[in-house]
């Protein structure tokens, strides 16, 4: 995947910059001094084993969870000192968060659009085209509470897009989404990046990250253990192989489960 010429780092602020972010929950250190820079116009895949701190990191980067230490900035605007400016430029699909699910899809989009102070006609126009693009146009009158898991993911994604942000932060955007809708979402994201937008998405599916992203960040135990362009990180191997090499000491399989063999 190619992306527009790299912006001059001197003058153009990175789309997302995390500086030594740290968070602990009781005795457990969830994120341990994580620093990451995502240049504008890139699509970054955030990968890491379960419990690595991906969701905690993204929550701190998007203003949902106050970090113990460190800072996060969106296009040069500090998320925690100047939240209004940072949040206006960022669209977020959080994972494991309820939606206002006693609204219909159209009502939910209108709600998010108006919360962001968009003009009413603009909200109506955008939400109609978003519902169309994500295959939700024929769900009028159905509460989001009665949507399937994949449909909820799509309406949440639409809510993150309605204000035309310049940075998208998506936590597991393809989980439970059917292949057709998944392709539609990919097309939307590619188009978004081609026009100068930036995407940060987390995923457990390495093939998906390889086919979609031009940059990768690998997180384990709350620390960043590798980041760079896709080719730099996978270093000649497949991303799956590299990932297992980097974080997967336990993924040996083998003799300890010998009893599981049926014959």
């Amino acid at each position: 995947m190619t992306h527009p010429t790299p912006p001059d780092a001197q003058h153009v602020p990175p789309a997302l910059h995390l500086e030594r972010l740290a968070k602990r929950f009781g005795p457990k250190v969830a994120v341990d001094g994580l620093t990451l820079t995502v240049p504008q116009g890139s699509m970054l895949g955030l990968v890491g084993p379960n419990g690595a701190g991906k969701t905690t990191t993204l929550s701190m980067a998007t203003g949902l969870l106050r970090p113990d230490h460190g800072a996060a900035a969106v296009l040069g605007h500090d998320v925690w000192r100047d939240p209004a400016a940072a949040k206006a430029r960022m669209g977020v699909l959080p994972d494991g968060v309820h939606l206002f699910d006693r609204l219909t899809g159209a009502e939910l989009l209108r709600y998010n659009g108006l919360l962001r102070s968009l003009p009413e006609e603009e909200v109506a126009r955008r939400s109609a085209s978003l519902l169309e693009a994500l295959g939700l146009a024929d769900t009028g009158g159905t509460l989001v509470a009665d949507y399937s898991a994949g449909m909820r993911k799509k309406i949440a994604l639409a809510s993150a897009l309605i204000h035309a942000p310049r940075l998208l932060v998506l936590d597991e955007p393809f989980e439970a989404v059917d292949p057709v809708s998944g392709e539609a979402i990919r097309a939307i994201l590619r188009d978004f990046v081609a026009s100068g937008g930036t995407v940060v998405l987390s995923s457990h599916v390495m093939e998906l990250v390889e086919s979609l992203c031009d940059r990768v960040a690998v997180v384990a135990d709350g620390r960043l253990i590798a980041t760079g362009t896709l080719d730099e990180v996978r270093a000649g191997a497949s991303l799956q192989e590299r990932f297992v090499q980097m974080v997967g000491q336990q993924a040996q399989g083998g003799e300890s489960l010998a009893w599981l063999r049926t014959s």
């Binding site: 998007t62 203003g63 949902l64 969870l65 106050r66 939240p83 209004a84 940072a86 949040k87 206006a88 977020v92 959080p94 494991g96 968060v97 309820h98 939606l99 206002f100 699910d101 006693r102 609204l103 219909t104 159209a106 009502e107 209108r110 709600y111 998010n112 108006l114 919360l115 962001r116 102070s117 003009p119 009413e120 909200v123 009028g140 009158g141 159905t142 509460l143 509470a145 009665d146 809510s159 993150a160 204000h163």
Partner: protein, 533 residues
């Protein structure tokens, strides 16, 4: 097997306790609540034994049957969020027989089962009138306890499948709420109507003698039959009681077996109308959108709907009881004349405003979208206040008109409106601010609306602690003038003016100060309300 289930139950309890110190406070409050229920039962038993021992037998049957019904209702409501729901075991190689024994063991140790069993045991005091009765009562006690626990559980599981659709669950919750409210006021009515007890005794006697032949009451009438020496009757009732237990035990096993292979899946609701009128009526701003959402939620979310119904029921029930002349409302020993009815909307205003503190808690983690969109705290507070006001202010005014009409003195109307509208906005404003500090607890979206957290949690006590002094100081002029208007009518107009000023001040405070607090504490509020309970 049974030991596993009991251990599992206690691990689940320990887990919730370790999550939050508030859970420990809540547990202590429930223990105190249980103890006070038992204390009440003991006092009642002693009073009946000492003053009216002849009533003991009838009350035993009534109380036992009521216990079965109440425990069934609790089990039905808890069932939708039961951590030991049979479906959760359907992937394990378990037989219904094993599951039944394990669940029964775990249920016997549930707090409300323990309270029910102890309450039945305390009722032994009543039977100390004769040795035969006491011995029979002691022997019948395990039968009574088994009846209560098994009938409740089997009845609840029988209803569970019918209640799987969202609409049915919502209807059930609302029905139960109405029953609880009516019962709460019914008991008051009954207590204050004791003078007419003599007439009532005959009717109750007939009802009890019928009830005592049904599965609901047979087990609790055994001691009386034995004490009367009616051995044939006692034997027949013993047979009914034992058959009841056996059938409930067998039937429960069948129900569990079915749920292991054909799990109950909660179904969704139907289509809704997208209310364009509401969107046109309210401004297309963040606060307007939040108000529109708030109003839609009052109708579409059963948790909010129940709060609305409960609030609207208050004047209906109190006013009805008062008008029927059954209860004399007394303040400082002096009866308030019917004029006092004009102040009914004031009570409603305080109850309606109380919910404002935990409004964010009902959103649960969906509140994250308010943070993500960067909506200002003042817009959040203003939108919630606007939405709730659009629901309740017309209701307050209508109630004021109706209550004034019932009191027969139209000149009390301005004071009635002034005191209630002013107090509503004042308390709501104060709680908008408090809610940004202590957001309280609410049942999770889609969970059992009368379940855990439905009382607002321990933090809502802080709401009460704030409401009373606010009412006593800033709220006092409007309320005091409205009361004084009963004797000096023109003061009502003053109450209206003062009420509107104080209400506007309260709303301004809630939106400005509460909004600034929410701007500062947004992520902490989110962390509190999205915590699993």
């Amino acid at each position: 097997m049974a030991a596993h289930f009991v251990a599992l139950r206690f691990r689940l309890l320990l887990g919730t306790l370790q999550q939050s110190p508030w859970a420990i406070v809540a547990l202590i409050m429930s223990v105190l609540g249980g103890l006070s229920l038992l204390g009440g039962t003991a006092l009642a038993a002693i009073a009946v034994r000492a003053l009216a021992p002849e009533l003991g037998a009838a009350l035993a049957v009534l109380g036992g049957a009521a216990l079965v019904v109440v425990l069934t209702a609790i089990a039905v409501l808890v069932g939708t969020s039961d951590p030991l729901a049979p479906e959760r075991f359907s992937l394990l190689p378990l037989r219904a027989r094993q599951l039944r024994a394990g669940l029964l063991a775990a249920q016997v140790l549930e707090p409300w089962s323990v309270v029910a069993a102890l309450a039945l045991a305390l009722w032994l005091i009543v039977w100390s009138t004769s040795p035969v009765a006491l011995v029979a009562a002691v022997l019948a006690l395990p039968i009574g306890v088994a009846t209560v626990l098994l009938l409740a559980r089997a009845g609840a599981d029988l209803l569970a499948r019918q209640l799987a659709s969202k609409r049915a669950r919502d209807a059930m919750a609302i029905l139960l709420l109405l029953v609880i409210l009516t019962a709460a006021f019914g008991i008051q009515l009954f207590a204050s109507g004791l003078s007419g007890l003599a007439d009532l005794a005959g009717a109750i006697g007939t009802a009890v003698s019928v009830l005592a032949w049904t599965p609901l009451g047979a087990a609790f009438d055994l001691p009386r039959a034995a004490a009367d020496g009616a051995w044939l009757e006692a034997a027949a009732k013993l047979a009914i009681a034992i058959a009841t237990i056996a059938i409930a035990w067998w039937g429960w096993g069948r129900l569990l077996g079915e749920r292991l292979t054909n799990p109950i899946v909660l179904r969704g609701g139907g289509r809704v109308r997208e209310g364009r009128v509401l969107d046109r009526m309210l401004p297309a701003t963040p606060a307007g959108a939040i108000a529109a959402r708030s109003i839609r939620y009052r109708r579409r979310d059963v948790r909010h709907l129940m709060n609305v119904i409960a609030t609207l029921m208050i004047p209906v029930i109190i006013g009805g009881v008062h008008l029927a002349g059954l209860v004399r409302v007394e303040v400082d020993g002096a009866g308030i004349p019917a004029d006092g009815l004009a102040l009914l909307p004031l009570l409603m205003a305080i109850v309606a405003a109380a919910i404002v503190q935990i409004d964010v808690a009902y959103d649960n983690s969906a509140f994250a979208w308010h943070l993500l969109t960067g909506v200002r705290g003042s817009a959040d507070r203003a939108g919630r206040l606007l939405g709730i006001s659009i629901v309740y202010l017309p209701a307050l005014v209508v109630t004021a008109v109706l209550a004034t009409w019932a009191s027969g003195r139209w000149e009390l109307l301005p004071g009635s409106i002034g005191a209630s509208v002013g107090t509503f906005l004042l308390v709501a404003g104060a709680l908008l601010w408090l809610g940004a500090l202590l957001p309280g607890d609410a049942p999770a979206p889609g969970a059992n609306p009368l379940g855990r957290g439905s009382s607002g949690g321990v933090q809502s006590l802080a709401g009460l602690a704030l409401t009373l002094p606010v009412l006593g100081t800033i709220g006092a002029p409007a309320i005091g003038l409205a009361i004084a208007a009963i004797w000096i009518p023109w003061l009502g107009w003053l109450s209206l003016a003062v009420g509107l000023v104080v209400g506007a001040l309260g709303a301004w405070f809630g939106i400005r100060v509460g909004g600034a607090t929410l701007d500062r504490r947004g992520p902490e509020v989110l962390a509190h309300v999205s915590k699993e309970r």
